[in-house]
Each structure stands twice: as C-alpha cells, then as structure tokens.
C-alpha cells in the first residue's frame, strides 16, 4: 500500500501492491522511465495521463489548454482510484510551481478535486523555484499557481531545491567522513543506485527527491503504524491551520538521511529536537526560530516517550516566538515504529511567518517581468487567459503577504489578554 488515503491498515502482503496514484505529465519521458524502472509493478499502467509535447513551461498551457482537454479523462481515472478505497481521507498532490504541467495542470487538478470530492482533504507538496532557476517564466507560473493554492488547498508543504541540495551535501559529508552507524540491506524502492554515486557538483535530484519522499513517509507514519499518541492527517490540517488561507507549513526532518544512505549515525535524542528547529534542517530557505509561530507540530517516531517530548518542548519553548493567542500551540504525535535503519526520527511542521520571504521573492521576480510585459503574449493567446488572471493572481499573493505582515507586527508586542465573561453572582 502507499500513502494518499486513510484506508484500512491491517497487515497486508507486501507483494502485488498497487499504488493509489495517478501519474500525469504532458511529456512521456519521465513516466516512461518510471514504468520501465524498478517500480514498474507498483504503478498501474492504466492510471496515467500523458501527452507528447509538454507544456512549454507555460502555466496557461497546462491549466487552460490541457486542463480543458483532459478534464474528463482525469475525472474518470480519479473516480476509479477512489472506488478502490474503503475510506478516502485525503489526496496528496505533488508538483512543482515553476513549470507548465505541474504548475498549471497540477493546480487545475487541485480545483477538480475540490469540485468532485469536496470532503476529502487536499495536501499539496509544492517545489518552489530556486534562486538560480533557469526557467525564465517560472515567476509567472509560480504566482498563477499560488492563487490556486491559496484558494483550493487545505495544506501546502513548500519545498525549495536549494534546501534539499544543501541537505544532500550535508549527508554526503557525514557519510564520507567515515562515521559508522547501523547498516541495513539496500532495499531502496525509491532511489536508483545511481543517486548516491553522483558527485556533489551535479544536481543529485534522486537523493533530493528522496528527502521529500521521507517527509511524506513521516507525515503518514502515524496513520500507518501504531503508537501511544496517534496523529492522523486530518489532525494536521485541524491543528495547524488557524485561518483558512494561512495553510503553508514549513517542514523539517531529523535525522537527515536518504533511503540509500542509511549508515548515518543516530544522534542523541535531544539533539534531534534541537536540529529540527535549526535553519539547516528546514526544507525551504527559512529560519522559523527568528520568525513568529502560529502553530507547531512534532511527530516523533521510534523509541521516544512522552517525557522526552515534554522535556524538549520545555527546553526549546523559551527561544521560540509564538503568537499571543497560541502561546502553547504544540501538536504532538508518538509513533512506535521508526524509519528503516534508525532508532528514532522527528518531523516538525510549522505554521510560521518565515514563509513570507519565499513569497516576497516570487512576487518581486514576477513584478520584474510583468512590468516589462515580458513573455506575456505566450500566455494571453491561450484560450481562457486574460490580463485579469495575472492581476488577480498577484493581488491574491499580495494579500497573503500582507496577512503575514500583520501577524509579524504583533511579534514581541505587549500581551493583552481579552477580558473574560463576567458572571452575575
């Protein structure tokens, strides 16, 4: 079985499992590679939607053109997958923001999911363009996609390639420095063995993607395995989203590892908690410690007990800034089963104003292009695209940034508790 819904989790056979997944791409190269690779039996070859020419890094092509063209096919295949579920709890949408298909068609699918399955949670894992990204139109694509995420996603986990790259480098350093740890048979389903052999200079996408895979594994661990304090996916949305639009969650993982590099030494337990709050472990370029927390969730796996959790929360709390109406805003979960090859691990999810710089950067890049009307004609000549799509999108993003600004303004200010109800004696 794989993540993506809340279906029954009684022990099942490990053979003949089919992923509850739909693979969508407007080019065939990547999907074909998957279907010929070690995971070919896991994916149902009928659960694909592909085309040949790609989206040309154009959100409008992805969203308006292919969206319209493939709508029926997508709905039909979604329904088929949903029918196989005893109890469908949530969708995971995994895409990038900077291109055309993932960004455009991806957000089209997001809309579709809300229309067709309104009660099912929509978790989106979005890869945001990095600083030196080479797609010229990525700012347009990202901002257009952001509007959709603002309005139709329940939770978004932003990821930045730069952070993943830094983390992978860190792992390489640790592994190559010769520190020994527990070893496990290489049984990686997710990485190809080529991933870990690449030199650091090339972009090791497989290893980087592996980290995102681990994020999703940890996120769903409590739904898949037993523990003394279970944390399900709908609880994450409930506890970490205080206002509907503020649903962007910064994630961090410790210990750092990829499935292929499992001989990384286990760190002392408390160090693991400290690491989760450090800059270098976040999956976007952000520093939550120096910004404002609206809410924070800690999902621990392995031989960690409630006293370890409490001790570390007490220890770390003083150095973190929480919003005045949620001073003790912690959501915690304990899952007994650790990840393969480790004795324990921690996933931290933060609703924190430190996402703001990422959004401001996209906005600035967008404005640079938009002011000069650069490349706009590629978008506007697509049926259904108008200037207003752009102005609405940038307006949506600006409003979001403003909401974060307002929250930041309250940081460090005096705390005035609202007066309580008075009861006549």
């Amino acid at each position: 079985r794989s993540g993506g819904d809340g279906a029954d989790i009684y022990k099942g056979k490990i053979c003949s499992l089919k992923a509850r997944a739909l693979l969508i791409d407007m080019e065939e190269g990547v999907v074909n590679e998957i279907l010929q690779g070690p995971l070919r039996d896991v994916f149902d070859s009928k659960q694909l939607i592909t085309d040949v020419s790609g989206s040309g890094n154009n959100w409008a092509v992805g969203h308006k053109l292919y969206g319209y063209q493939y709508r029926e096919s997508i709905v039909e295949k979604l329904r088929k997958t949903a029918e196989h579920c005893d109890c469908l709890q949530c969708f995971f949408i995994i895409h990038s923001m900077g291109g055309g298909t993932g960004s455009g068609l991806g957000t089209f699918v997001l809309n579709l999911l809300e229309d067709e399955f309104p009660e099912v949670y929509r978790f989106v894992t979005s890869v945001y363009p990095s600083g030196e990204d080479d797609v010229v139109t990525s700012p347009y694509n990202s901002v257009l996609a952001m509007k959709e995420l603002n309005e139709h996603a329940d939770c978004v986990l932003p990821i930045e390639n730069e952070s993943l790259f830094d983390i992978v480098n860190k792992i390489h350093q640790m592994v190559n420095s010769g520190k020994l740890g527990s070893t496990v048979k290489q049984n990686s389903l997710v990485t190809s063995s080529a991933g870990s052999a690449k030199t650091v200079q090339e972009k090791p996408f497989d290893a980087m993607n592996n980290i995102v895979a681990n994020l999703l594994l940890n996120l769903t661990s409590s739904a898949r395995f037993e523990g003394s304090l279970n944390m399900d996916l709908n609880e994450i949305s409930m506890n970490l989203v205080p206002f509907p639009r503020l649903h962007y969650l910064v994630s961090s993982l410790t210990p750092l590892y990829t499935l292929a590099d499992v001989n990384v030494p286990s760190r002392r337990l408390d160090q693991m908690f400290s690491d989760a709050f450090s800059r270098g472990h976040q999956l976007i370029q952000a520093d939550p410690k120096h910004s404002l927390y609206l809410a924070c969730a800690l999902l621990v796996r392995g031989n960690v007990q409630v006293s370890d959790l409490r001790r570390n929360i007490e220890r770390l709390k003083p150095s973190l800034h929480f919003v005045s109406w949620n001073q003790e805003g912690w959501k915690t979960g304990l899952c007994s089963v650790p990840p393969v090859g480790h004795s324990h691990s921690l996933l931290a999810l933060a609703n924190n104003t430190c996402v703001k710089p990422t959004f401001i950067e996209i906005k600035d890049k967008f404005m640079k292009l938009y002011k000069k009307k650069a490349h706009l004609h590629h978008y506007l000549h697509i049926d259904g695209m108008e200037q207003s799509c752009f102005s609405e999108a940038i307006s949506s993003l600006s409003d979001l940034i403003e909401e974060y600004n307002e929250l930041d303004a309250t940081k460090g200010g005096p705390r005035i508790d609202p007066s309580r109800l008075k009861i006549a004696v």
Binding site: G6, A7, D8, I9, Y10, D86, C87, Q89, E226, S228, L229, N230, D232, N234, E235, S237, M238, N239, L240, V241, P242, F243, P244, L294, A295, Q305, V306, S307, D308, R310, I313, E314, K317, S324, W325, N326, Q327, E328, G329, W330, K331, T332, L334, D417, P418, R420, L421, K422, I423, V425
Partner: protein, 453 residues
C-alpha cells in the same frame, strides 16, 4: 450491581485497558493480606461489578470500546486477550476508519448522530448482561476529537436511554503545554456539555500524573503507558469493593450510587478530584511500612493545601478559624490557597483500618456550611489490601481542587476565541460561534460557583 465501562477514543481505550488489567491483577493476587473468606467475598463482588462470566474461560470485561479509527481498539482487544487472565467481548466494539481529526464538532455533530444507533445497541447489550445495572463509567480525554466530542454526544444518549442509571465521566485533562493545539476549545465544549448529562466528572490531569511518575515512581523515560498505569491504580483504589456505613456486613452493591450520594449534593458542583497515597515503585514496597495516622495526616494536608501528590505539601496552610460570623460565601478570613470542600470521601484499604481515626476529616472548618459535617464526609473501608500496597488510602473530593485548572483552560480558550483562530474548523461541522459562547458561559458559571465557596 454492575458497572458498564464505555471507552472512548485512543485515550479512553488505552486507559480502560489498564484499569481492567489493574483490577484483574488485584483480585488474582495472593497479597490481600486478609482472611480467605474476605478475599473470596472481595473477588466475587469485584467480578460482579466489572466482569461477566460467559462460556469463556476467563472473565469478560463489561465494556464497550468506541473509536473512530481502528488501530487502538484492535491493539487493545488483542493485548487483553493475550494476557490470558481476562478479555473483552469480541463483539463489544465499534470503530470507523477516518478518525475525528481532533475536531470536537466532527465527533459531536457528525460521528455522534451517524453512529448513535450502533453504539447504543452495543451499550444496551452490555447493560442487559448485568443482573442489576449500577450505571456507566465513561473514559475519555478532553483534548482530542473522539473522546471529547463523540464522548459528550454518547453521554447525552446514555442519559436519554437510561434516565435512572448513574453516569460517571472519567475525564483526562491534557498537558498544559499542549498535546493538541485546539485542546482548550475541545475541553470547554466537552465540559459544558457533560455538565448537562453527567452525574459527576472525575478528573485526572496528565501533568500531575506525570509528576507522580517522575518524582514518586522514579521512572526515567515516562511513557503514556506509565501514566495510564498510575491512573488505573488510582481508579481501582476507588472502585474495588468496600464496605460503606450503610452496607454493613456486605460489600457495598452500588458503588456509583454511593459515590454520587456522598459527593454530589448539588448539580452545580460536579467536579471531583482524586488523590491516592502512598505511591511508590513496586520494588520499594517491601522496604516500606506505613501507619494509618501518618497516611491520614498527609492526605488531610494534601486536601487543605491542594497538593497534587505526597511530595512538596505546603504545611503552612491551615483551615480558617471557626467562630467568626462572616457568612462563608463571602468569607475573607480564609487564608490564601486554602482548599474549601463541599464533600469528601475517604477510602481505606488494608488491615487494622477499623482503628483509624478520621476525626480530622470531619472538622467543619474544611467545609462549606450547606451540609451537616456528618453528611459532608463519608468513609468506605475494607481490610483487604489493594494492588500490593499493604495500606492505602484514597480521597475523592468535591472541592476547589479543580478550580485553577478550569480557570486556566477557560482563559486560554477565551484568548484564542477572541482572535477567532480555528473557528472555521468547527463551523465547518456545525458548531457556531454562539455554541462556543454558550459553552464559555456555562463554564464561567461553574468556575464562579467554585470560586466563591
């Protein structure tokens, strides 16, 4: 008379399991330190109360297990059966797959009505197995979605379906620094709703039990299992058979009724706290001796000074001088931190309990003036030792014990409500701002009533 236990949500099921374990372990042991006849009486009374003897080799717990996701119940059932000493009825459980998402509204307004019939059918079946039903004991946490929301709904259903039975809700107060971010909302909603249908709320605070595990039990890496076992021990110390003043030569047959009668004279005051001493690691028991006067002295001071456990008791706190003519409801001569009681119940387990002098608990200065001192205080006893403690004593108290925690939860919830944070998550399932306001009002009323004692 029998008690049917309803275990709600992860917490309720995990604790419920430990409670039956503790009770079963207690009657199985040979450490009753009393006559064989006494032991047999005790065992029979306990079995009638908590277990049914069907055609199975082991006693079957009188319980209904409810959860909105399957993992915990599945584990609970199998671990109990594996013990070989007792088990749950295989059919006496209900679960769904998607959980309540820590959302009280989801538990109360969606799962509740949707599954009412199935759940109440299970309860009815268990009730019918009892020759005589004393009432219901529900176990739930306030912080999550199922125990709290569905639990509040089920309690209402129990009240409607069994108007003459007693309902005691065992409520777990979450850690102050958070297990669930919306725990204060869930708590306010739960408490205000339970107050309408329940006879009494017996509270355990995670923070307190955690301290007991750390400081008295010397546990280094405290797990929820450790916490739950202490809770189970304390509950067992209240619900295992005893002799009451009225029951005479037989073990009392109506534990819930007796409890309510002793402790809840007025429907505005339903919050019960529990203290149990001594509490120590099992391997220290052999080296310790206890005296009844010592235990009683400590317990009384714990009551007066609102101490949560037997360490760090403030001996400076003294009851106010009687004889001043200031009416008790506006009394200003009470020293700070003095814990005023409405009613108290002391339970003594162990030999020579006949000789124990409980006069200090009958001191009128401990109580409000509504009840005559002889009515405000009750004692239950048995010479049969409980759970390997040669002597142990418990205090169930309707007093200001829970005033501070109540006030704290209401304050935090109100603070969050003022900013409207998370409210959309509740309105999505039918709990509106007005419902919140009603709950806040109800809770502030309870707080105010306890504060002016």
């Amino acid at each position: 008379m029998s008690i049917v236990t309803v275990q709600l949500g992860q917490c309720g099921n995990q604790i419920g399991h430990e409670v039956f374990n503790a009770i079963c372990g207690d009657i199985r042991g040979t450490h009753g330190l009393c006559s064989k006849k006494e032991n047999e009486s005790y065992r029979d009374a306990c079995k009638e109360r908590f277990f049914s003897e069907e055609e199975s080799e082991v006693p079957v717990a009188r319980a209904v297990l409810v959860d909105m996701e399957p993992k915990v119940i599945s584990q609970t059932l199998s671990v109990a059966a594996r013990s070989g000493y007792w088990k749950y009825d295989d059919r006496s459980h209900f679960c769904q797959k998607q959980g309540s998402g820590n959302n009280w509204a989801n538990g109360y307004s969606v799962h509740g009505p949707r599954h009412k019939e199935v759940i109440m059918n299970l309860v009815q079946k268990e009730a019918e197995k009892c020759d005589r039903l004393s009432g219901f004991f529900t176990i739930m946490s306030m912080a999550g979605g199922t125990g709290s929301g569905l639990g509040a709904f089920v309690t209402q259903c129990l009240r409607d379906a069994f108007p003459t039975s007693f309902i005691l809700n065992h409520v777990i107060w979450p850690y102050g620094t958070g297990e669930v971010i919306v725990q204060n909302y869930n708590s306010v909603l739960t408490l205000s709703h339970l107050y309408q249908s329940s006879d009494a709320l017996l509270v355990h605070e995670n923070d307190v039990i955690h301290k007991i595990c750390a400081q008295l039990m010397n546990i280094k890496q405290i797990s929820f299992r450790d916490v739950n076992q202490v809770i189970a021990h304390q509950l067992g110390s209240v619900f295992q058979p005893t002799y009451t003043a009225e029951s005479g030569l037989h073990y009392s047959r109506n534990p819930l009724g007796d409890l309510m009668e002793s402790l809840v004279p007025h429907p505005e005051f339903k919050m019960l706290g529990l203290r149990n001493i001594p509490q120590m690691p099992e391997n220290s028991l052999a080296y310790s001796t206890f005296s009844w006067p010592g235990l009683i002295k400590h317990l009384r001071q714990m009551l007066i000074a609102n101490a949560k456990m037997e360490e760090g008791i403030d001996w400076q706190v003294r009851p106010p001088r009687l004889g001043s003519s200031i009416p008790s409801s506006h009394s200003t001569n009470k020293p700070l931190h003095f814990n005023t009681s409405i009613a108290n119940l002391v339970i003594l387990r162990g030999k020579d309990m006949h000789s124990v002098d409980l006069g200090s608990f009958r001191d009128p200065s401990l109580y409000t003036s509504w009840l005559k001192p002889q009515d405000a205080f009750n004692a239950w006893k048995t010479p049969r030792a409980f759970n390997k403690y040669e002597k142990s004593v418990s205090l169930v108290s309707n007093s200001q014990f829970l005033l501070k925690p109540l006030d704290s939860v209401a304050g935090k919830a109100w603070n969050m409500f003022a900013s409207k944070a998370y409210i959309h998550q509740y309105t999505k399932f039918g709990i509106e701002e007005e419902d919140f306001l009603d709950s806040f009002t109800a809770l502030e009323q309870v707080i105010s009533s306890y504060a002016i004692l």
